[in-house]
């Protein structure tokens, strides 16, 4: 039981659950904005799984494996860029522009 309650496992499972919730939001939402939010929740869940992996890899005097943490930082920035592009497209769609 103690194994299951380590932060790495706990947040890993939390990440898994967030993936499900995020995926549900992306797929089932009729609104485009909500789909973008869903993508972000999905991403957050994935990053938590990375975080759990990093935490498990503590060693050599570090509290966690730095490699997955660095990957998450890169991932967060990429996810933000994706959201920005999606939001820009969304705004473009909402705009009443009359160009052919």
């Amino acid at each position: 039981m103690t194994v299951a309650l380590q932060p790495s496992v706990l947040f890993g499972l939390c990440g898994a659950a967030l993936v499900g919730i995020g995926l549900f939001a992306v797929v089932s939402s009729p609104g485009l904005l909500r789909r973008i939010v869903g993508c972000n929740i999905l991403g957050a869940g994935i990053f938590l799984v990375f975080g759990a992996v990093a935490r498990r890899g503590a060693g050599a005097g570090f509290e966690a494996d730095p490699v997955p943490q660095a990957l998450v930082i890169t991932g967060i920035v990429v996810a933000f860029s994706a959201s920005a592009l999606a939001v820009a497209l969304l705004k473009r769609l909402a705009e009443p522009r009359s160009d052919a």
């Binding site: 932060p7 549900f24 089932s28 939010v37 570090f62 820009a88 969304l90």
Partner: protein
């Protein structure tokens, strides 16, 4: 004690996530998502990842939050509502997502033990870089190629966003401030930026050895700039303007230049000469911080709305 805190944190995260999904009002959902981002930052602290926590709060929560709130305001009432789902369809999707979560949980629980880790290897390499923060070492030395490409990804997203401007406005000025400026915002915009800039510079400076670094610092700077633009204290720059273009491209270009010099002076592309590793990395970080700040702010600002002056 910590265990209870962790469980409460997880419960909070999940509740907020479900709330975000189920809340019918978009604005409330996005605000809940902001709170979710903050809680997530706490979770990262608990996962011994202060670097990620800073990034998550700054970009994942803050940046994305502003972005989404602005989007919500822009599309309110005109938002495209596409294909809706029937109840059985929703149920099927829910069951499917639950199954995926379950499989994922199983995989998480089944990870090899002892956990494989690169922490020792990363520690071993630190001396060659002269850095103290292993995450920074991973980002700017071991996996610098990823970081370089990821900067290009950000710029590309920005170019993509800009390309959505009308033909006539392309290269012009984005519209950041919208309508009336609330009094508190104007006040904050006067007070905060000096502190923000200091914090940003500090984060960048300590990033080499302690938690912090280019993204976090860049985000803080970007936030300050956005604040100033939102409050109307400064108008946004022309997207085709030379200063902005140089600020954006400068970081990656310096990065690339140093990377190519590695062919001549070190072990090849993206390798640093051992003696100069730390100063070079700091120089790259400095330039990248500016680029990231400019790129993130402009990503939030959106495509140009007003034609450029020629």
């Amino acid at each position: 004690m910590m265990l209870l805190f962790d469980i409460a944190l997880v419960a909070g995260l999940l509740t907020l996530a479900v709330h975000v999904v189920r809340e019918p009002d978009e604005r409330s959902a996005i605000i809940a998502f902001l709170a979710f981002g903050l809680l997530l930052g706490l979770a990262w602290i608990r996962l011994a990842a202060p670097d990620v926590a800073l990034t998550e709060i700054a970009i994942g929560g803050g940046g994305t939050g502003i972005l989404l709130l602005r989007a919500e305001a822009a599309v309110r009432g005109r938002g495209k509502h596409e294909e809706s789902v029937t109840r059985p369809g929703k149920l099927a999707i829910a069951v499917g997502c639950a199954a995926i979560s379950a499989g994922l949980g199983l995989a998480v629980l089944s990870f090899a033990s002892p956990a494989p880790t690169l922490a020792p290897a990363a520690a071993e390499g630190l001396s060659a870089t002269g850095l103290g923060n292993p995450v920074t070492a991973v980002l700017l030395a071991y996996r610098a190629l990823d970081t370089l490409l990821e900067k290009v990804v950000v710029l590309l997203a920005l170019i993509g966003v800009w390309s959505l401007a009308p033909d006539a406005a392309w290269g012009g000025v984005p519209a950041v401030r919208s309508g009336e400026i609330p009094q508190p915002l104007a006040y904050l915009a006067r007070i905060l930026p000096p502190f923000g800039v200091v914090i940003g510079v500090y984060m960048f400076w300590v990033g080499a050895d302690a938690p912090g670094g280019t993204f976090q610092a860049g985000t803080v700077l970007a936030a300050m700039w956005l604040l100033v633009m939102l409050a109307g204290l400064r108008s946004p720059p022309e997207t085709a303007g030379l200063p902005l273009r140089l600020a954006l491209a400068g970081g990656p270009i310096l990065f690339l230049a140093i990377a190519f010099l590695g062919f001549a002076f070190a072990d090849g592309f993206l390798a640093y000469p051992k003696a100069l590793a730390k100063p070079l990395i700091l120089a790259i970080e400095a330039a990248l911080t500016l680029s990231v700040a400019a790129a993130l702010a402009m990503l939030v600002a959106g495509p140009a709305r007003r034609a450029p002056t020629r």
